[in-house]
């Protein structure tokens, strides 16, 4: 299948899934009502449900899927490891620890709704910078030492957070768990705006650097030969990817699997050239998260199953099918 045909197919699937997500839910909104809900000057309750809940939630799902897939693509290429994701450098575990700590001090009851998410982003970035600094200590921030230091530090911080959370009182603990479990339910228009801004910036930067990413996949010697400074460019890309990851984690909780699976599906569908991969994987990520959210909130009756869990089953299943059918998997 040519790149153009596959890309347009993906766009069609994306639009269909987006429309279905806008339609279905506890109340069904057929497309004819969308325009009315958006433009009518006097909105009734149903219109408000559409404009204030359904629409931002769907858009947030698309943006989350897209940003995480972008961050995952870049991390995998830069670290040269197909099973890595931005969380490996500590972005999501730092974010979760900061949020748990913030809740221990009852910050979530403060009037400033942005206090806890900002602390989360701060925590994530501090941990990533710590990892990078340690890996740089010997002047050798190679892909593998970054991965090893990242795993060691982020899993230690996760363990500490879990131990800490055993000692806080049950109400605060359940707040923290609910925050971290990952649900798009609390998305509103401000979230959508923030996510859109970061996704656009990341997409622009990575797309402009797609050529550098192609080279960064090679061994260090080869990329130096092609005129790249491997350590500097690697760290810049990783920091941006980590920022995107900590931002989404701070806003809507963890979706650990999108970042691994969407880029790999992208690699199976395209030739793996980054100017294409950077376009395809966010689309796939968006489709996966929207579908997972849609299934999670419509199919299970009184319960709402968090999208992250559905996502793992859905995206993983699709990926396995591709992996089994694909005759040559390029490593």
């Amino acid at each position: 299948m040519s790149f153009l045909r596959m890309n347009s197919l993906l766009v069609v699937v994306f639009v269909v899934v987006l429309a279905m997500s806008l339609c279905f839910g506890q109340h069904v909104f057929p497309p004819s009502q969308w325009i009315k809900a958006l433009i009518s000057p006097e909105k009734d309750v149903l219109d408000l449900i559409f404009t204030e809940f359904r629409l931002p939630r769907t858009l947030a799902a698309a943006l989350i899927g897209g940003s995480l897939a972008l961050a995952g693509t870049v991390t995998q290429s830069v670290l040269r490891n197909p099973i890595s994701e931005p969380g490996i450098l500590g972005a999501s575990s730092g974010c979760n620890s900061a949020i748990t700590l913030a809740m221990m001090f009852q910050f979530h009851q403060s009037a400033n709704l942005w206090l806890v998410p900002s602390l989360g982003v701060l925590g994530g970035m501090i941990l990533v910078l710590t990892v990078v600094t340690i890996a740089l200590k010997r002047g050798l921030a190679s892909a593998n030492s970054l991965v090893l230091v990242g795993i060691a530090i982020s899993s230690a911080v996760t363990a500490l957070t879990l131990i800490l959370s055993l000692s806080i009182d049950r109400t605060t603990y359940s707040h923290a768990v609910a925050w971290m479990a990952g649900s798009i339910g609390r998305a509103n228009w401000t979230y959508v705006a923030v996510l859109f801004g970061s996704a656009l910036f990341a997409f622009g930067s990575f797309f402009a650097q797609s050529h550098t990413l192609d080279i960064a996949q090679l061994q260090d010697e080869a990329s130096i030969g092609l005129g790249l400074r491997p350590i500097a460019s690697r760290l810049c890309m990783l920091l941006l990817a980590s920022f995107v990851e900590s931002l989404t984690t701070a806003l809507v909780g963890a979706f650990p699997f999108v970042g691994i699976v969407a880029p790999n599906i992208g690699r199976l569908l395209t030739s793996g050239v980054h100017s294409r991969l950077i376009v395809v994987s966010p689309l796939i990520g968006a489709i996966l998260v929207i579908t997972a959210d849609l299934i999670g909130r419509t199919m299970f009756g009184p319960y709402e199953v968090p999208a992250g869990m559905i996502m793992a089953v859905l995206g993983g299943g699709f990926f396995l099918r591709l992996l089994v059918k694909s005759p040559t998997y390029r490593s």
Partner: protein
């Protein structure tokens, strides 16, 4: 000390360290035991002596199970990283513990009051099933085996199965039951569990040592390995079998114990280099020591409410790994 040199001395050192650690593990705990009693337990055991009872029926099996778990997971981590040639590979990633959790959960829904042994059997079957799925995807599909495919298949199958487990947990409201199975622990083990793990671990270890030279040659490259005269497919299949033997019974008894299988191989590689015979033996001892030490710390520090073993192994092991990366970055690099 150059890596690879004096490796037998390093190994001997850590063996003694582990032995000393075992003695300490036997003598500390809620019931104070004199060191003298530790020794007499083994020479003239008497049922009337409380210390003897505590050591023989509680602490010794627990120390043995902890060591077996750590040793087995570390060795299977070495093999996994050798087969996938990926520093992120570990036994928890290959579908074993997710499979165990899922089958356990289905068992809990079907039969609410499972006995300990039935649940261990169920977990074992689940681990077996999860691992076979991963191997099927990696080996039996068009295009044949590649290390990347094994790594991807492992992480994706694990995620899918975990996803199923979470959805089932939410739908049947089984959070409390699942909590135990997501962190792992060995709080209530006895001699029965020692015998449930020991035969599998021994067979797995022997198998691992048999293919160790083959793994060393594989780490140079598939073509080079074939050139030397190794049968690569045979090594890979035997390696996968060894991982299955080493990990399935451990996961069934203790649940997922994080970090040991992933990190100990890197630590061992930093100490003795990348020759797999040395690597396997040292990883075994290091893994056993780490798990035993972590279990001991969690018993002492938090009397009453124990910190889960999986968390403690991470906290104890992580600083050591960071230190090693800082001290000698070169040896931790993947060899081309």
């Amino acid at each position: 000390m150059a890596p690879g040199k004096h490796w037998s001395r390093v190994l001997l050192l850590f063996c003694f360290f582990h032995l000393a650690l075992t003695c300490v593990a036997l003598s500390v705990g809620p019931t104070a035991v004199e060191f003298n009693d530790c020794l007499t337990t083994f020479v003239r055991y008497s049922d009337d002596n409380v210390s003897h009872f505590a050591i023989w029926h509680l602490r010794l099996p627990r120390a043995l199970v902890a060591s077996l778990i750590g040793g087995s997971l570390a060795v299977s981590g070495v093999i996994m990283q050798g087969l996938t040639r990926n520093p992120l590979a570990g036994p928890t990633m290959m579908g074993l513990s997710p499979g165990a959790s899922l089958v356990m959960l289905i068992g809990l829904i079907g039969l609410p009051n499972l006995s300990m042994n039935t649940s261990i059997l169920l977990s074992f079957l689940g681990a077996f099933g999860g691992y076979l799925t991963v191997c099927f995807v990696a080996y039996a599909t068009p295009g044949g085996f590649t290390p990347t495919k094994l790594a991807l298949a492992g992480s994706v199958v694990s995620a899918v199965v975990t996803g199923f487990t979470h959805v089932t947990t939410v739908l049947f409201s089984l959070h409390d039951e699942m909590l135990y199975w997501t962190v792992g622990g060995i709080a209530n083990v006895s001699w029965v569990q020692v015998w449930q793990i020991l035969p599998f671990s021994l067979c797995g270890l022997v198998l691992a040592l048999l293919i160790s030279t083959g793994l060393t040659s594989l780490s140079i490259g598939k073509e080079a390995s074939i050139g030397i005269g190794n049968r690569v497919t045979q090594i890979r299949i035997l390696g996968s079998l060894a991982v299955l033997l080493l990990t399935s019974s451990v996961v069934a008894v203790a649940g997922p114990v994080a970090f040991v299988g992933l990190m100990i191989p890197h630590i061992a590689k930093g100490l003795v280099g990348a020759r797999y015979t040395q690597l396997i033996l040292l990883s075994m001892v290091l893994g056993a020591s780490l798990t035993l030490l972590s279990d001991m710390i969690s018993r002492i520090l938090t009397a009453g409410e124990e910190v889960p073993l999986g968390l403690m192994t991470t906290l104890v092991g992580a600083p050591f790994l960071v230190y090693l990366v800082l001290a000698r970055p070169i040896t931790l690099e993947a060899r081309p």
